[in-house]
Subunit: 342 residues, 2 copies
DNA sequence: CTTAGCACTCGATCAATTTGAGTGCTAATA
DNA sequence: TATTAGCACTCAAATTGATCGAGTGCTAAG
């Protein structure tokens, strides 16, 4: 276990390193953080902390740098202590409300906002849970072998997809089908699915096969935990010294560019509401060993909203967490309006 | 005017520079391209070409590097000479067809494909021209003050947008409206708009104001030349030596990340069908002075499809042009199927 | 237990030096 | 007259070496 003073030294190292980005030495600490103690004393403590796996030296005769373990301790401490602080940003948050245009608009705004405020990369995602409720469905014949599938969920999420059909279905047939399904508006997809399946069996016997494929497509869209993700601008990454190295930049970039990896990452935090931090190797992606992800999610009735900030391990956790808290709070204040019905 | 030999020297410089990325000297040319002539002879020609503005030296006592003017000549020559070559890639193109899922699917595939084949950055865009035809419209009440606007155009482009409404319109009212508009399916937006406006005036007197706003939104979506853009992965940029410098990379990145700049750029070529090349300063964006854009567009009835590749000035134009030709041809082969009706 | 002092390590920085590819010019050559 | 070989010169890039400074570990004194 750490002594009080060791903890103090450790947190100071992390703090100073987050500030400066350079390995921190005993003299700096003695001068700036622990003015009562001499450099030599601190040196001894640091040596012990290194043995315990909290610090490391990039090379002999360099200052110390925090390990993931140290960040972890730091973040946990910060997470405990927060609630006190509550600084501004109101003006920007109002902005978010103003630009709201359905779920997509809100999430785009949110990710942009997070990016702006944090100076890292903001992401915003909504995962529709199994109990997503149908608001309206529609089928539109595009040509002899393609039908446009249109699904609106309560809350305003819209999915559309072109599905191939081996048989040519008339627009009337499709409309009839849509009309029937729409009587179930407000019900969960599970129920709708059963009704739909029965209809297909009974009334559309000869088309059953082709419809089954469309049903599968619908399932993919609605039954699984489908996540829609928005990533803010990556431009800030250029300003972060940790990513000046083109190699590291590249690694992170390849992750951020494709949604799949990110979505998986977000799922990490999806078990529990509230704020979670994933530091360095704690996530499975080797490309992200120099990064940290701060996630904050909150689930309302049919969907779970996750906001996150991705940055270097050495990020300003306090600020990011506070920003995240704010934006999320603002975001979940609103969907309540939509809950009346559709 | 250039002599035959000067042209030969010049094209060789451009070709070699595209290959190697390093300034090319007289000896290299003498050994590899113009084996009949000695380095000294070529040196004289090069000096002349420099005077004429086709070549330049990055510094005294370095080899020569092509200017934009030289690239221009090179590309024009290539554009003239092509048609002859016709190498493979069939297997990948079939792949494109297979993954077709409406316009968006096709364009996503196309931009990915261009990116893969060219090793630069592929983009694909569809601009709907004024004469876009309506296939289906729908309005869905989301809550007391928001309506989801849904427009499907012939060809399968789908637009959806939440618009705010100062008055609460019932789903029945909305449905009635949609039904009326849908009788005009297959007509151009211009006609639909008139009908819609009349309806609003006559039947919806007290809601007229709120509807006008929605109409504006629709106009924005449908009347202007709305462009949907897909950009391929930027990952290839990391492999291009010209962009190893983080500064240049950053400049290009900021352009590619936001659609607006790119869309403007694409419009450059939108005047004429066929292949166009924009080299370096020829485009207005100072951030792109080290880049070239090869565009290829083709308009069918209601929309114009543009494919492009963005890469360094020193790109393999021959290959890119041939790739572009292929993918575009493949893409426009299909929409014909959709022209029957909706 | 704390601290001052000292020897030592190692990255970073800077100047001097070398190397090599390339040029321009001139004189010899076909 | 057009071409080429030869030579002196230039300049970026790579190499080397010296120096600096921040930091450590260890030891001995307070």
């Amino acid at each position: 276990m750490l002594t009080e003073r060791q903890l103090e030294v450790l947190l100071s190292v992390v703090y100073e390193f987050i500030e400066s980005g350079e390995h921190v030495g005993s003299r700096t600490l003695s001068k700036r953080y622990l003015t009562g103690r001499s450099a030599a004393t601190i040196r001894n403590e640091m040596a012990d902390l290194e043995d315990m796996g909290y610090l490391m030296q990039p090379h002999t005769s360099a200052g110390r740098v925090p390990t993931t373990r140290a960040y972890r301790l730091f973040v946990d401490t910060v997470l405990q202590r927060r609630r006190a602080k509550d600084q501004g940003n109101r003006e920007l948050l109002d902005n978010l409300k103003a630009h709201r245009n359905g779920v997509e608009g809100a999430l785009t705004s949110a990710s942009d906002l997070l990016t702006q405020l944090s100076h890292y990369v903001g992401v915003a995602a909504v995962t529709q849970l199994r109990q997503a409720r149908l608001s309206k469905i529609d089928f539109i014949r595009v040509d002899t072998s393609n039908v446009l599938l249109l699904v609106v969920l309560e809350g305003g999420i819209v999915h559309h997809k072109i599905v191939g059909m081996p048989y040519d279905l008339s627009q009337d047939t499709l409309q009839d089908l849509a009309r029937r399904i729409n009587t179930l508006a407000g019900h969960e997809w599970g129920e709708v699915r059963i009704m739909l399946q029965n209809y297909i069996m009974q009334e559309l016997g000869r088309y059953a096969d082709s419809c089954r494929k469309a049903l599968d497509d619908l399932d993919k869209l609605l039954a699984g935990e489908h996540t829609t993700l928005f990533t803010g601008s990556l431009a800030n990454l250029f300003n972060i010294p940790d990513f000046q190295d083109i190699g590291r930049f590249r690694a992170l970039f390849s992750i951020l560019e494709q949604e799949d990896g990110l979505v998986d990452l977000l799922k990490k935090c999806n078990t529990t509401d509230g704020i979670g931090v994933i530091i360095g190797e704690e996530n499975d992606l080797p490309e992200m060993e120099n990064c940290a992800v701060v996630l904050s999610s909150s689930s309302s009735e049919g969907q779970r909203t996750t906001l996150g900030v991705i940055g270097p391990k050495r990020m300003n956790y306090e600020k990011v967490i506070s920003v995240l808290d704010k934006v999320l709070q603002d975001l979940i204040d609103c969907p309540g309006e939509n809950e009346g019905d559709g």
